[in-house]
Symmetry: C2
Subunit: 282 residues, 2 copies
């Protein structure tokens, strides 16, 4: 190998600098793969100096768009399918169990603990929907003390934290804990589709690729129970116009729930959805 970096030896020239005495094996493995793919990418597309300038500026502005309320790098990861890939790799589970999907940026810890049947829609907007089902193990046995942390947007497509002072605090959020029968039941709204924020670098990237920024309507859930793997998922509205083109690639066939119109119920819709948890050891 040539002594100094050339177009041909660039990957080896960088990797040769890693000092095994001071670099953990895991960091070495990650940096080796990262440098290799980064250099191969630059070589494959023969990145111009001006394109490199644009990339540096894009990354810089992405970091500077982040605030305590907004994470633009996560949005870039989401819209490039990276978040869902990482989620898939880290949540390989028994096919009988409910599948994971992305957490998203709008979860807030500490939502109110509510009794079964409670209504989490505090602004009274939107079409009411009863969510109802059981939390069970792989054999269909009910799981007691399962904790469901649920949240969704409101009828205008915004989460409460995106509109402080406009929406009531904890609007469309709540925590429910199952009894011995594993059943859950609460009232919220039939969620609506909404665009991810497009007034920053992620929006520029989507526009450049000719992609829309919409997510199909969904209600988020985190379900935990002692002895079981944590489930982070969504219940999707299957007939949503964006169901096959989710901007963050979060949709899975098994996560589309029926939303059944109720002519004479106390809510406009019923969404039956059972949740199957995988054991922690599996």
């Amino acid at each position: 190998m040539a002594k100094y970096l050339t177009e041909d030896n660039s990957i080896q020239a960088v990797l040769a600098r890693i000092n095994d005495d001071e670099c953990s094996p895991r960091f070495r493995r990650i940096m080796t793969a990262l440098v290799t793919h980064l250099h191969d990418f630059v070589k494959e597309v023969e990145l111009s100096q001006q394109e490199w300038d644009v990339a540096i500026d894009f990354l810089t502005r992405t970091g500077q768009t982040c605030t305590p309320e907004r994470q633009e790098f996560i949005l870039i990861s989401d819209t490039l399918g990276v978040s869902m890939l990482v989620d898939a790799i880290n949540n390989r589970r028994d096919t009988r169990a409910t599948e994971n999907t992305v957490l998203g940026p709008f979860h807030v810890a500490g939502a109110p603990e509510l009794p079964m049947g409670a209504n989490i829609s505090l602004d009274g907007k939107g079409e009411t929907c009863r969510f109802s089902g059981r939390v069970v193990d792989l054999d269909g046995q009910p799981i007691a003390d399962a904790r469901l942390d649920v949240w969704s947007d409101n009828a205008e497509g915004f989460y409460d934290v995106q509109q402080p002072g406009v929406q009531p605090k904890w609007n469309n959020r709540g925590i429910f804990t199952t009894g011995p029968d594993g059943a859950y039941d609460f009232v919220g709204i039939k969620p609506v589709s909404y665009p991810v924020p497009v007034d920053g670098p992620a929006g520029e990237m989507l526009t450049g690729m000719g992609r829309h920024p919409y997510r199909p309507a969904h209600t988020h859930l985190i379900v935990t129970a002692p002895g079981f793997q944590k489930l982070v998922t969504h219940i999707f509205v299957g007939e949503d116009p964006y169901i096959d083109s989710d901007a963050v690639f979060g949709v899975k066939e098994s996560l589309m729930a029926p939303f059944q119109p109720l002519a004479d119920g106390d809510t406009a819709w019923l969404c039956p959805f059972d949740i199957v948890l995988a054991p922690e050891s599996a």
Copy 2:
């Protein structure tokens, strides 16, 4: 292909969303290679959720470390050898011509235009050095009206822009223009090695890999002349202890100049260095 993103089809699932009617062929090519390498990287190392969190935080802090005076993403690109690779790809030239190397973050446009022989070291610190040579074409013919924009650190290893109010403005900077003989000649200092900034994310990355942050001593030059390719390069002090481990991989064998001690000269050192420019059309 499965309809929704899975671990196996993740690259295709993302690329299928590019809309050719609205995406330029070049952006399509770049994003296709980027998504492919990004997903392959994540799959190869089986990135954990926690490692992804660390990566998002690292990128965010890198963007937020950038200021008008500091570009941390360029530093990451430099220390991963990406800047030098881009430079190499974009400056393939006749082997007789002087080689390019990285611009670095400390160039400032508008330095004083000075007569040949002038001294650019305004703080009077360091070992004086006369830089002298000719600017010629590939056939060795002198190039008139070649403009040399030169800059270096001071004897303490800092550029003037890193120490406003401490160093005189334009310390160790100047612009010189050749006459019909192509000769140039100016007095500066024998430059000293210095560390790139390590108080940010790039420093964490270097530490994690067990790498030092030093650059071998060098004087920067941008040389332009009508009808010739722009040359962005350094003159390196060959005997520098960091010459074989430049933190930004900028060293090339051909850019090491002799620094000759002068027992009885008006400067402590003489650095003879001829510059060969490639024609614009080549």
